[in-house]
Subunit: 445 residues, 2 copies
């Protein structure tokens, strides 16, 4: 039931949900929910606690911005960027993976992309075509829904498992079961995971690496939230602990390191692709169906990336190079721009729990989850779709976990980035009101 | 035969050509030729007259650069750009097509892309999937080789005809013959044409439009060299003559307007896609194989462009918006940054002709070709492959016309952008030497 005195005028909310034409929130895209909330905000004149978008909510580092401005003044705008990346960026990226992940990669395999979105698209275009008897990608979910959209747009198949159901050694049997069918070209997961904020441990990464080698599958490790497991300090260049990675356990890997969250640099669309030396040089005869050569690295750069956009925006490459250099040299602390996300998550999770909500993904095996960019929650007696529907009347927006491939259909994903510390009292008040109104429902369960 | 006293040390040239491992220059990519010439320049210490790359050779307008710098200072780097384009760019692009092409398009269909390369990729991904009984693109060649590479990377078929063989009414029969097979999803051509610098006339554009309607084919008009037919003055906003376009004759069109050449803005990877209102709203049930909806425009933006890179670099969108606004308002003259290309071409064509060379594509029907970004040439008794091979000893580089889909295998394409007016005496000297050395060969023909 809908209450009459909700924080947002219930007539407006009902009307706008109905007018949106969305069948339900389990199949709506994030952008469709964004649009709906924009419309309700405009009509009601009230601001939502917006937790549906995984977008940066903090400013970009001056170091990156200034380096872009200098590059523009130097005249880079008129010159095609090197497709394989400008020298400064390749050098700093190679150093970065050595200093913060502790892996060695040749500069040749250190590439810029137009955001990690293009990085994934480019990688799928090659990795999923290395063996014509294979069909596509296995996603270790929950995850970023657009990765599956990319597979669909390209015309590749995909399947997925919910990681939370297969932690630790259980993962080996499940992967064995799927990969042994011989249809999997690549495995993709985010670490830390969007949206569950699970961080894969060394046992799990080792299993993924071993299974990749056993079944000759390419692992695409999405490091969109690089270093943001704030339980550990990954910020000292060249010193352990390092950002965990599958690259310690297999050479069949491509890393996607985004600047959008780590450096709050989503606007400039500049990410990176790191290909292992082994994979770069490897030859797959079946690539010749789509590319001039059978070499993986060459097909990535001059086949896929070239055709996708003829390289990455020139000034943005220099901006990213400068930020990487600053963290490599210890002049800027890695994650210093994003630490506040952890503080926000800690408070927000407490507020939800104090008001009748539970965390859906709550543990990393036996340890409590890190506080980071996302968390996941549910409320007794509601499916995710119903819960989002009701929360909209209380000025709170999120997305359903179903949308992310999770099997936990009761849950919602919250992103902390748009909720400043000063807004916590409003969030608390709305959650309290929601809980008061709906406790009756719980009592009837 | 190779002469011993050529401008570049013949031992070095022979060795480097041999070491390159390229089978011949008809199948080498432009980038492979660029690489070879870089190596020879480095080894010999001598500079080439470099005409192989179609890259801007003049600086980018201050207006664009300053607008990018201001946007960066305003903080756009941390915010995801609107996938469908920032409001300023959409507004100015709509005005631009009205003022300089004289067509009306809703802002909804005025989109940014990460260069026209992404514009083509995104358009193929949708246009070539509108009808599952069709197979791909018909190219009106010669053209940009990477467009075919895009089709291959996506997995679409393509075929091509050499426009020069089918000027005027002849084009109708040829198109009828190909399109009536029912396998063509889209037609792509550049106007002015890269590399022949042919400009399609109104008769030909009308034929293409009529044939597109008759066989329900989408026309992709590549305006990479917008306004650069310098025989006409297309530069006065809102006043005829306008840049000729197929949009006058069909509603089945997508225009790709690049900033790389028009504004010397290749480095920032920002181009535009303009979709007709009719096509934007049109529904193609077969699109549902790859996209969420059957609507063309929605599939382009939230299906294709979103998955390709999650939009176009934020600051670059503001840079392009500012340049479009300046030409729309008459504050900056369209093509004022590129007029020098026409002057260079005029001189270079004369120098080639005075030294025994002929122009391959010389006429636009009965009129002489415009002087612009490219011209095409041959020398008696040589194939294009042989000619390039020999010219390399004289410090002159270009690409073969075969590479562009031309049937004129005797020719080479020259781009004027890297040859400044002060370098013309060196070019003249080298051409003279080449001609002196090779006249014997002609005499023996």
């Amino acid at each position: 039931m809908i209450f009459s005195n909700t924080p947002i005028d219930p007539k407006i909310v009902s009307a706008k949900i109905s007018e949106s034409g969305l069948p339900d929130f389990d199949s709506a895209s994030i952008r469709e929910i964004v649009k709906l909330v924009n419309i309700i905000e405009k009509e009601s004149g009230q601001k939502y606690m917006r937790m549906e978008m995984g977008v940066p909510g903090l400013p970009a580092p001056e170091i990156g911005i200034n380096a872009e401005i200098e590059a523009l003044k130097r005249g880079v705008a008129s010159k095609y960027p090197m497709i394989e990346g400008v020298a400064d960026l390749k050098r700093e990226l190679k150093r970065f993976v050595k200093l913060f992940i502790d892996i060695e990669v040749d500069e040749r395999g250190c590439l810029p992309s137009v955001g990690s979105m293009q990085g994934s698209f480019a990688t799928f275009l090659v990795a999923n075509r290395t063996d014509k008897s294979k069909e596509g990608t296995l996603f270790l979910d929950p995850g970023f829904p657009v990765h599956k959209q990319i597979c669909k747009v390209i015309g590749h198949e995909w399947e997925s498992i919910d990681l939370y159901d297969y932690r630790g050694e259980k993962l080996r049997n499940k992967l064995e079961q799927i990969l042994s069918k011989g249809k999997t070209s690549s495995i993709l997961y985010s670490n830390p995971n969007n949206p569950s904020w699970i961080s894969l441990n060394e046992t799990e990464l080792r299993i993924i690496g071993e299974m990749a080698d056993k079944y000759d599958v390419i692992v695409i490790e999405d490091l969109a939230y690089f270093g943001m497991d704030f339980r550990k300090d990954y910020t000292v260049p060249g010193e352990p602990p390092f950002q965990p990675t599958v690259a310690k356990y297999t050479e069949n890997y491509v890393l996607l390191i985004s600047s959008s969250k780590l450096f709050n640099y989503a606007g400039q669309r500049v990410g990176t692709i790191v290909i292992s030396d082994y994979l770069y040089n490897r030859r797959y005869p079946d690539l010749k169906r789509y590319y001039k050569t059978d070499e993986f690295g060459y097909s990535m750069i001059y086949g896929s990336i070239y055709a996708l956009s003829s390289g990455t925006t020139h000034s943005a490459q220099y901006g990213l190079a400068a930020m990487l250099k600053a963290v490599n040299n210890g002049e800027m602390k890695l994650t210093e721009n994003v630490l506040e996300y952890g503080q926000r998550a800690k408070i927000m999770k407490r507020l939800f729990k104090e008001n009748g909500f539970s965390m859906v993904y709550e543990y990393d095996e036996d340890e409590e989850l890190a506080d980071g960019f996302y968390f996941t929650f549910s409320y007794p007696g509601f499916t995710g779709n119903e819960l989002l529907n009701h929360l909209l009347y209380y000025g709170i927006s999120a997305i359903t976990l179903s949308l992310t491939g999770s099997t936990r259909t009761e849950g919602l994903r919250a992103c902390v980035s748009q909720i400043g510390l000063h807004q916590m009292p409003i969030l608390e008040e709305r959650l309290k009101k929601f809980n008061e109104d709906h406790q009756k429902k719980i009592a009837n369960l």
